[in-house]
Symmetry: C2
Subunit: 457 residues, 2 copies
């Protein structure tokens, strides 16, 4: 690959220093696998518990609106088109019971970029609860911000007391808590009471909150979800968008709700957006209006997709927890749970699997071909064998139709539904069980595909 | 507007320090104007020579492709979808005679963001020829990069000799020249010979070039356009996209062509994109394929829109240069020219117009209501009364139809075509002439709308 010109360019040290974000790394891995498995008996089946993408079609009103506005080629205003901001304001009123003036809303090309822009905007030290979504840390590092981890309690949630003690140790003029609620990777969400306790600490310690609520609409018992903006309106920035609730991550659109009473301050944020990317795609903004407008069709969509996430989560939770030594969080929202495989640490060691990354790689190898997101990608210790399991590897379109046609009403009907509609989830979980059994009997040969060693297993 | 909470947040100093990008500032101005003019006789007509946006509809094949792919909700790969990179590769082969492996192509949400990302990627001091597009400098400043201006020669172009002397003074390990070709604001483009002379200096002085060729397809005599990547393949990054040539700035899609022999190095770039924004909108990428694929329909579109830019440029050039003391560049591409009003400096001073910004504001005021981009927004001296005139304020859809129906063949028919199809350009240029006459007779009252002084003029 080298050439006389390879090194003629000087790359910024900051760029060299950041690691490849994990989602990208994993993608590369899987691409290599799909061509590289050289086992003669391999009929390649990749069971994907790694990707965080809802399997459903984009809601019809959204697609229809994109079709109708496909010819809109002119630049949009930097903060978003007025009709969209109005729709977002009403959406937040209707579903989250918060009154947000459209002037407090800024639209951007995905919440990932908006969170990056908020981290550019806000001076201060970041408090990152762990485990965490794999997107935050590369952003914090790339921006060279000071940061501190805040490991969650055994129940998978932030301890207000630990938050307070950490904040007391930080002497920056401003502290920024990244609250991901509902949470990726645990699938848990914070109750109103829990949020109030966190907000109390934030008020005392002058902590600004970036509340990433991208999974809010997926909360299985939706009436229980409460936005942090309701609890701590003076200090919370909320980010949300179409990506998860509307299965439209590929559209690239999100929004920020600004805290109360910061009108002028938003102008500073707009400067960043105007400097970096002008505006968000105009046709996509028009499409998003339909996704945020209240309608029977959207209501039904949220309801059905929520129920499907719940049944898949329930199955995945039950199946994993019946495996010897495996414990997991019990998902109440999102399409993830966090599974703890540390019970197998000694067995892994005996198979020369010493880190969570080696665990992920071994599980990707023949014959398991099962992808999950290992602990080091979730900002856990390298030797912590916890992993995120996404339960979305099924035909969502089909599952929606079957669910609407006949909703399973008994426990056995629910089991049958999963077997019928999500056979790859069923098989993939079987593979995890098989892998753990093989590990116990020391029959794992790690990462053989690289060596094209077809007799390895 | 102030409140007890206004100042509770601490904003990053870097953000406070950057100025609002000029396009945003201007937008705000115009919005204020459209509601604020309080002159009793004002029938508000805003003649827009300020916005850099082609007036045409998005080409039908592109709109059709967006309609067809409106349901594509899944995330795209970070560097762009394969079919799009293939289409871009063929497009560059067909129109620009450059062979670019699709692996050397990276797609992003607009060239503005890609240029920002390149400036993040590349270490070094930036050389910015002036006058310059209003987007570069806020990016350079926000990233706290070292930079030096390189004022162009009287002919509106970079002097290779001055470039050399500037480079010799810079002791950074890498120098980055931002070459905007064809050029915004001058409307000029560099001949093959001129590019070769610049490339010679870049080779000697190890200067890396970011060649922003977003206006390439608008070159009136298209066969004369040559990409810098053809001349200096080992040191040039080219950026281009749909925004100008396809009148789809609102779609937000662009691409970078990487220099030869830098395969691994692209991975560094992908890290930045994955950290900041995941990927570019999937439906928009699919739409873009149709815009880059070679077809009779697209060929005709490029031809007609180019001819319309040319005739509007010709009229604007002739009309301005017949005004006493006004000299302008003669556009050969883009939809801009640079007009020099310095002849009026003393008359401006007598009217209390001392800077180019005051000039812009005075011209926006009643009764002229004419918007242009003043010199300070083009990175010229504050007292340089040069301004960018964009000749796009007409109904492009209609003009295309009329042009196709009956192309004017004589000089008087061409004049008649502009009067019929672009009456606002005609009137706006009349307003500039009237303004300059009024300035001579000291009858300008500056920026009166703010004071609601309806008897001002």
């Amino acid at each position: 690959m080298s050439s006389p010109n390879s090194n003629r360019f000087v790359i910024d040290q900051q760029v060299e220093d950041i690691e490849m974000p994990e989602n990208l790394k994993l993608n590369t891995f899987l691409q290599e696998f799909s061509v590289d498995c050289s086992h003669p008996e391999c009929n390649f089946g990749n069971y994907g518990f790694a990707f965080g993408q809802a399997p459903f079609p984009v809601p019809k009103p959204v697609v229809d609106a994109l079709v109708k506005n496909a010819d809109k080629g002119t630049y949009a205003p930097v903060s978003g088109i007025t009709e969209l901001k109005n729709a977002i304001s009403k959406y937040n009123k209707h579903y989250f019971h918060i009154n947000v003036d459209p002037k407090r809303i800024i639209v951007g090309p995905g919440t990932k970029e908006l969170i990056f822009n908020l981290l550019e905007l806000l001076h201060g030290t970041v408090i990152l609860p762990t485990p965490a979504w794999l997107g935050y840390l590369p952003q914090i590092r790339f921006l060279r911000k000071n940061y501190h981890m805040l490991p969650v309690n055994k129940d998978g949630k932030i301890s207000p007391n630990k938050l307070k003690h950490l904040a007391l140790r930080l002497h920056d003029r401003q502290k920024i808590l990244i609250l991901n609620n509902p949470n990726n990777p645990t699938g848990l969400f914070y109750s109103q009471l829990e949020l109030e306790e966190i907000a109390d600490v934030c008020r005392q310690q002058k902590i600004t909150v970036i509340s990433d609520e991208i999974y809010a609409m997926t909360t299985y018992d939706f009436s229980q979800f409460v936005s942090m903006l309701q609890i701590y309106p003076e200090g919370t920035f909320v980010t949300n968008g179409l990506s998860k609730s509307h299965a439209a991550g590929g559209y690239r659109i999100g929004y920020v709700l600004f805290p109360q009473h910061v009108v002028n301050f938003r102008e500073q944020f707009k400067k960043i957006l105007a400097t970096e990317y002008t505006a968000t795609s105009t046709p996509i903004q028009h499409a998003a209006i339909a996704g945020f407008e209240n309608s029977v069709e959207m209501d039904d969509y949220f309801k059905v997709t929520r129920e499907l996430h719940k049944i898949m989560g329930e199955y995945t939770y039950n199946r994993l927890n019946e495996i010897e030594g495996v414990v997991t969080t019990k998902p109440e929202a999102t399409f993830y749970l966090l599974a703890n495989f540390n019970y197998y640490a000694d067995d892994f060691a005996a198979n020369n699997i010493k880190t969570s990354q080696e665990f992920s790689i071994a599980l990707l190898d023949h014959p398991y071909h099962t992808a999950l997101v290992g602990g080091d990608s979730l900002v856990l210790e390298r030797t912590d064998f916890s992993a995120r399991i996404a339960f979305v590897d099924y035909d969502g379109n089909n599952a929606m139709k079957n669910w609407i046609a006949k909703k399973p009403s008994t426990a056995s009907a629910r089991l049958e539904f999963v077997h019928q509609n999500a056979p790859r989830i069923v098989k993939g979980l079987d593979m995890i069980e098989r892998f753990l059994k093989d590990v116990k009997t020391k029959s794992i040969v790690k990462f053989t595909h690289k060596e094209k060693n077809s007799n390895a297993i």
